[in-house]
Each structure stands twice: as C-alpha cells, then as structure tokens.
Symmetry: C2
C-alpha cells in the first residue's frame, strides 16, 4: 500500500530519509500532528509549547527554533486557496551519527514534515463511538509521561486491538489498571458539574485538545475541570464519556462493555465551544 | 558528522529510506546487532531466536523468513577475505502505510541492514569499567520486556548520562529502584558459586550473550546461574560484577560509587569460555 503524502526533509521536498537516522534506529525524537485548515495550522502555539517540553525532556532544546522555522516555511508554501482539512505531521529526530545509543555531540537534528488528506470532517459531531478493550497497558515511565515522543509501540498494539475488535477506539489502562487514555486520544468523563481526565504522571500523551479543555473550554461551559487518578468504576458510572485529539476533535463514547450512553449534552456543549474557539 | 556504513534496504544497497516508514514514525519494529567476524555472523541462531520472539510480540511473525533470507543474502555478499570484526545491524520495520497508529493490513515489512566498523577488539578482556549512575530508569512494561524493539529512548538518555559523567557505562534501575541492566548491555554479578542476573519481567532486553551465559557458560565454569530480582545492596556486596553485549562481549566492572573490584577471576574464566564458544 502506498501513501501519497507530500513530504519535506529539512524543508526540501523529499520522501527519502538519509540513513542512519536516530528516529529510525531508536525512536529518538518527538512529533506533532497538526490539523490543517485551509492550509493553516490550527492551535499552532499549543503544539509548539508541547514540542518545546518534549525537546527539553529529550535534551535537544536547541532544535526548537529550527523546527519552528522549517514548519512555518513549509506551511507558508502550502496552497491556502484549497478549502478544507488535512493533517500535518512534524517530526524532529536527533539526526544521524555513529552507531550506539549515546546521542552524538555535533549532529544537527532533522525536521521531517508530511501532509495527509483527512477522510472526515474534524469539526463535525461524529456518531458516538464504540469503545472497546485492550490488554495493552501503558508502561509506567514518569520520565517520559506526557511527551509526544517517537516510542509509540504501546499505542500501535492497542490500535491493532481496536481494528481486530471492530470498535472505534480502545480504553488503555495504566500498569495499575486505571484508565489513562484511548489508543489515539485523551479521555474525559463528566460527573455532575465536574470534567475529569486522567492525570499523566506515569504515562500517556498530554494532548493539545486536552490542554484546551482543561484551561478554557470546561470553564466556558460551566464545568469544573480536574486531572485525577481515575478508576474504572468511575468511568462506568460517569454521566458522559468522550475522547479527543487534534484530528477528530471531541468524540462522544456511546458504548463500553455493557454500559451505553445516550445523553451527550455536556460533550455537545464542549464541542460547540471547541469549534467556536477554533473560529476566533 | 557523517557515517559511512554500507546500508541495504530490502537487500538492495541504499541508504535512502522511503517515507512513510513506521519505524521512523512510531519505532514500530525490532532490531538485532550482530558481531561480524571475518564477514560471518557470530551466534546467528541466538539472534534469530530473539528476533522471532520480538516479531511475534509485535504481531508480525510472518516477517521472520523474509528477514532471515535478506540477512543471509546480504551476509553472503560480504567480503569474507577481510579479517577482523565489524557490527551488523538488522532492522525489521512494519513498513509504510497510511497515517495512524493502527498497523496496516497489507503492507510488507521492510528489512534494513547496515554494517559499521568496530574500533575495538570484541574478544579482548578490556580494562575493568567505571560504572556510573543515571536517574533514567527502565519503564515498567511487562508486555514488551526482553524484546529488542525500536523504542529505545530510555537507553538513549541513560547513555547520554554516561557520556556526560565520563564513565564507561551507567547502571539502569527499574521503577522500583532495583538494578536491571546497564545502558547497552546485560548485568551480571558473582556471589560465591552463583552467577546472578536481573530477571527481565518488567523491562530490559534479553541479550544473546546473557542467554549464552545462562544456558552454557556458567555451568562450564562451575557456576550456578539464576535470574533474580537483584537489589542494589547485593550488587555492592558482590564478589564480581560485569556486563555484556554482542559487540563488547563480557566486560568486568572495576568501580561503582565508592566500591571497587580488583579480583575478576570468575569474569575472566567466563570470558575465556565465551571466546572458546565462539571458536567452536
């Protein structure tokens, strides 16, 4: 299967990555997946804030200005007269260098950008999702928790379980059995006037839409947001459950195990606030 | 810094990896680092056994015959008249495919092989190592423990600490604070007639030299080998400590914290048995 995604390596159109590359060898780098709207980045600053944190965690903070500059140059070259949505992936790898785990001292990072079509409308309120289960749990690794680095095997295997089960997404637990996220998004639940999401101290990715919900959208909808150690029984007892990421926005959960949810009013309210936020 | 390592992609000489590639995107694949001796693979079968386990864990067992065939073809093309040692890295990635964590159904895996010079004699008994410390611990992830997959950020950051501290290696602990390995090798200690190594149920890589020590070399040297939950105080009280990997063989530890070891007689004995095993 081939994918025809326009790709740039260090700002130059190319889909041929020079080897060796430490992202290929060790997953040594970070990435961001942006929603592109009419050729422009959505919530650019939130993504770049997370990118900065990730690069610092990986001890390559100097790559940030290069990544930002390359990103902006590539985005400016896109055709903004084409209306609609696409996905843009920005990958920052530690670059080449000799064999071995130790990061080379004098190798420049490499910036890889690719753009893919989206098959859905990311601002539509999609049909409530069927949420399945997976035996694949998040590893416990406080050092890398929240970071969108390139070591993503856990989510790959969880997403494979979702495909096998024919569900839209799967609930991923942490090592203690507590809900942490879905395979490709952050998890939220509504309980009365509270909006709760798992705290990401041991694993998970700190999503940009999660950030926006916690910092702005919850309050705008009269909800009190909090990061907590969520338990499975709380999720099953929740008034509403949804998940979110950059490319799907907010998606209500309709079913999980023998539980089903038909009232999605708070999720709809948050979704409306989300769409309005992007229109500002 | 450029590295001139001959590289083959799917058996064809090339150092240009076609993107998208899931090893690049998610670390979605496994690898092996072989010692090459006069152009021939050392302990090939032990490596392929581990590769098979890793591919099964990543739910791509069908890639094994392709990887093996490509490996053998490339190795047969090497010049065996050149005496000496080199490193050969075999990487099996899940290949290309569309955006998203879920593995594509019909994308063939990709086999990438590269050969690098070795700057040292891998069968020499090297000077005892200075072992340092790192705050980077292994994540707890039983599902992937032992597998030599491409998600190696923890070891990258630990190896960076070794470089920064000017030591030969660093001791990596698990999430509970128990010794698990060094950044690029398995850890062993000698206590009386016992040869102990950390059990790899929560993390770590099940090294080929570790396997050989446990299955053959310990008994050949009159030692009783066991995989255990090792504690730091046991390591500090050990008669001898060493670590091992494919490219350095066995290396004695000379110092750690304020502890130093000058007697390496059991390690030397095991090292001799190791060299003899490779000569069989």
């Amino acid at each position: 299967m081939t994918t025809t995604s326009p790709t740039w390596i260090d700002g130059v159109p190319s889909a041929a990555l020079p080897l060796p590359d430490r992202a290929f060898a060790y997953g040594d780098g970070v990435f961001e997946t942006f929603l592109l709207r009419n050729g422009r980045l959505v919530l650019r600053d939130l993504h770049l804030e997370r990118l900065a944190i990730g690069l610092t965690c990986l001890r390559m903070p100097a790559a940030l200005p290069l990544a930002q500059q390359t990103l902006d140059t590539v985005v400016q070259s896109l055709d903004t007269t084409i209306e609609g949505y696409a996905a843009l992936r920005l990958t920052v790898t530690r670059g080449g260098g000799p064999r071995g785990y130790a990061p080379p001292q004098d190798t420049p990072p490499r910036i890889v950008i690719s753009v893919s079509d989206l098959q859905h409308d990311p601002l539509a309120f999609a049909a409530p999702a069927a949420l399945g289960e997976t035996a694949v749990r998040w590893g416990k690794q406080p050092l890398l928790a929240g970071i969108k680095h390139l070591n993503r095997l856990e989510q790959v295997l969880a997403a494979a379980d979702a495909v096998d089960a024919g569900v839209d997404e799967v609930l991923m637990l942490d090592q203690s059995g507590a809900p942490l996220s879905v395979a490709a998004g952050n998890l939220f639940m509504v309980a009365g006037k509270r909006l709760l999401t798992p705290i990401l101290v041991d694993g998970g990715i700190a999503g940009t839409r999660r950030r926006l919900l916690l910092d702005h959208l919850a309050a705008a909808c009269g909800l009190q947001a909090a990061e907590v150690r969520l338990q499975l029984h709380q999720l099953l007892a929740a008034k509403e459950v949804f998940y979110c990421n950059a490319l799907i926005g907010l998606r209500a959960v309709g079913t999980f195990r023998d539980r089903s949810w038909s009232d999605h009013s708070a999720t709809r309210l948050l979704h409306t606030a989300y769409c309005e936020w992007l229109d500002r």
